[in-house]
């Protein structure tokens, strides 16, 4: 049975083979062809993995290089004269302002995460459980907002925030990030709620629990993986966002990491050694968080649309 499953899923590899050598070869001794296939699969995987991580390797390697070794015309992936100077410069530059940006980024990302989950969880539960009037229209309007280019909302939003004094203020960004992530958060959590049998709600109702306590005490604890996915998604969106922060923040002590780091890029080029060192520092934590969270992410993304 196992073998049938694997053969079925290798179809594209086969397609090419059939074209090359006719369909007879597949039915020849299975072991030999299975070995070739496995070797081919590993080869493809290794090449794609190298392509996938190559840019990361390049910034990692550049961040340990001295300027003279960066601007050369020979290919050196391993730094010939490794140095930590770029990192010490980035961390101590301008009185250690990097740590202030780090703090700002972390604060905004954490608050966005909390707000995003608090807003989306009850809404997703309502959408999942109750067939209320105008539900389809509401969901459709969420989808439609995704079709309007976000960057064009920048000017009206800028004017709005200016009126409320939210421009150089982290609360403005927190609300904007959590809200723009809402359609995705609600849709994702709805998938998780849908997966929990409705009989559970009915049983809770029979036991005399109100709708809110049913949601809060019975259903929500069962969807912790879903909440984790949405929390993670909100955190990543806020941590990595560039355009809004770039447009709204002005005081150098209020900047987030992406906007602060952008200073190493200027009109005449970039301080690549500092830019790459700072990029590595920003990337490493989210990279590990992402790799940890990705298995939950898969269920969150596919949970509702694929029926098994």
């Amino acid at each position: 049975m196992e073998e049938n499953l694997t053969t079925a899923s290798q179809a594209p590899v086969i397609i090419e083979k059939t074209r090359e050598s006719g369909s007879k070869t597949i039915r020849n001794p299975r072991k030999v062809s299975a070995m070739f296939e496995s070797a081919g699969a590993h080869l493809i995987m290794i090449i794609t993995v190298i392509l996938a991580i190559f840019p990361l390797l390049v910034i990692l390697s550049t961040s340990f290089k001295q300027p003279a070794d960066i601007f050369t015309t020979s290919v050196q992936l391993i730094p010939p004269h490794p140095t930590l100077d770029n990192y010490t410069h980035v961390l101590t530059d301008n009185g250690g302002i990097f740590f202030i940006w780090l703090f700002n980024s972390a604060k905004i990302a954490i608050l966005t995460t909390i707000l995003g989950v608090l807003l989306s969880a009850p809404a997703a539960y309502a959408v999942s459980r109750w067939n209320f009037i105008g539900k389809q229209a509401l969901l459709l309007s969420f989808l439609v907002t995704q079709m309007f280019p976000g960057v064009l909302l920048l000017v009206p939003l800028y004017n709005l925030f200016a009126q409320f004094g939210l421009l150089d203020n982290f609360w403005g960004l927190v609300v904007a990030y959590a809200t723009t992530a809402l359609p995705f958060s609600v849709w994702m959590l709805k998938n998780f709620f849908d997966a929990i049998p409705k009989e559970l709600d009915e049983a809770a109702l029979v036991d005399g629990l109100g709708p809110f306590r049913t949601f809060w005490q019975i259903i929500l604890p069962l969807t912790i993986p879903g909440v984790a996915v949405v929390a993670f998604f909100n955190f990543m969106a806020a941590w990595n966002e560039f355009m809004l922060a770039f447009s709204f923040l002005s005081d150098s002590h209020n900047l987030t990491l992406p906007v602060g780091i952008k200073d190493y890029v200027h009109n005449f080029g970039a301080d690549w050694q500092y830019l790459t060192a700072a990029s590595v520092l920003v990337t490493i934590p989210v990279l590990f968080a992402f790799l940890w969270a990705q298995r939950y992410l898969i269920t969150g993304l596919t949970g509702g649309s694929v029926k098994s």
Binding site: V58, F71, T73, A123, V127, P149, V155, L157, V186, S308
Partner: protein, 328 residues
């Protein structure tokens, strides 16, 4: 006949009324639960959206919008100009000497290339990862790196790779005695470079979601097809592909929407240059509405034209897929 109708009608309407009252009560409760997100969406998304729609019928720009300078307020002096913004954008598309025509073409190339490469590579990798193999988890985790890196960091990394003097690609080409590629000054290569970066960025999402779809196909189907003596191609064609349809439909649709509206990659890598030859509708709208000319009205019109294109695409795409369903 008449009597039966008379006797059942009141009962039905009573039941009907009760049901309607119940649904109304339920809806009230649902909207109470939805109130926080509706308020947030209204302020952060819908208000700017409708404000943009309003401006798209005016000639609003930098020079004539209301200005607040401390206590002094200069009132707005823009006028309604009907659908002139829309007409000027669309007529530009059919004027071969203007930027509009080639920006439309570039947008089409950008979307078609990205979504096809995303899907083909994503499906290929998902099919390989779906089989039992050694190091499968290692491969899968490492393939996620482009998705996990902050997008602006990836853009910087690629910008460095594309550097004509010290960049890895051109240095390698030259060391092999080949001519360098003029990534930033040759319009065609510049377009290739932004597409390349976005293809690289988008493959992990496709791979992960399609892998999730593949793993949820019941194994009984494959068992049955092997009993029936189906070839692997037949199995792929008649089981794997149809079973992947729902998820494939959803993510390709999302991919087209996201790719259409993607701004940061082009902005960080080419700024739409050289000579606007890597602009898409969205980045061009941005340069018109937010960069130097600051034609807010025109920007709003662009936004709604893009919205309309994506809406029409969504409707046709879902129709097309639904009508194809009978084939299987």
């Amino acid at each position: 006949m008449a009597t039966t109708a008379n006797s059942t009608a009141p009962r039905v309407s009573q039941q009907d009324r009760r049901q309607r009252a119940q649904r109304l009560k339920l809806s009230g409760r649902a909207y109470l639960w939805l109130l926080p997100i509706i308020i947030c969406m209204a302020v952060i998304v819908y208000y700017p959206l409708f404000y943009g729609l309003f401006l798209s019928f005016t000639n609003a720009d930098q020079s004539n919008v209301a200005i607040h300078l401390g206590s002094v307020t200069l009132p707005a002096s823009y006028k309604f100009i009907g659908i002139q913004n829309y007409i000027s954008i669309i007529s530009d598309w059919f004027n071969p000497t203007s930027d509009g025509a080639h920006i439309l073409l570039q947008t089409a190339i950008w979307i078609v290339a990205n979504s096809i490469f995303h899907f083909v590579f994503g499906l290929g990798l998902a099919l390989i990862l779906n089989r039992k193999m050694r190091f499968r988890t290692v491969y899968r985790v490492l393939l996620m790196v482009p998705w996990a890196m902050p997008q602006y960091v990836s853009a910087f990394a690629w910008l460095f790779l594309f550097n004509q003097q010290y960049g890895f690609i051109d240095v390698t080409l030259q060391s092999m005695g080949l001519p360098p590629i003029y990534w930033s000054s040759d319009p065609n290569w510049a377009l290739v470079s932004v597409i390349l970066v976005n293809v690289w960025l988008g493959i992990p999402f496709m791979t992960v979601t399609l892998l999730g779809g593949l793993q949820s196909i019941p194994t009984e189907l494959y068992e049955a097809s092997s009993i029936d003596g189906a070839s692997r191609w037949q199995t792929f064609r008649h089981i794997t592909l149809p079973m992947l349809r729902p998820i494939a439909f959803l993510i390709t649709l999302l991919d087209v929407i996201w790719t259409f509206n993607l701004f940061s990659v082009i902005f960080l890598i080419t700024q739409g240059g050289p000579f606007n030859r890597t602009q898409t509708l969205v980045t061009y709208a941005w340069t018109q509405a937010i960069q130097t000319p600051q034609k807010f009205g025109l920007g709003g019109a662009y936004g709604f034209i893009i919205l309309a294109i994506l809406l029409i695409f969504t409707i046709f795409y879902s129709r097309m897929l639904r009508s194809n369903e009978t084939v299987y």
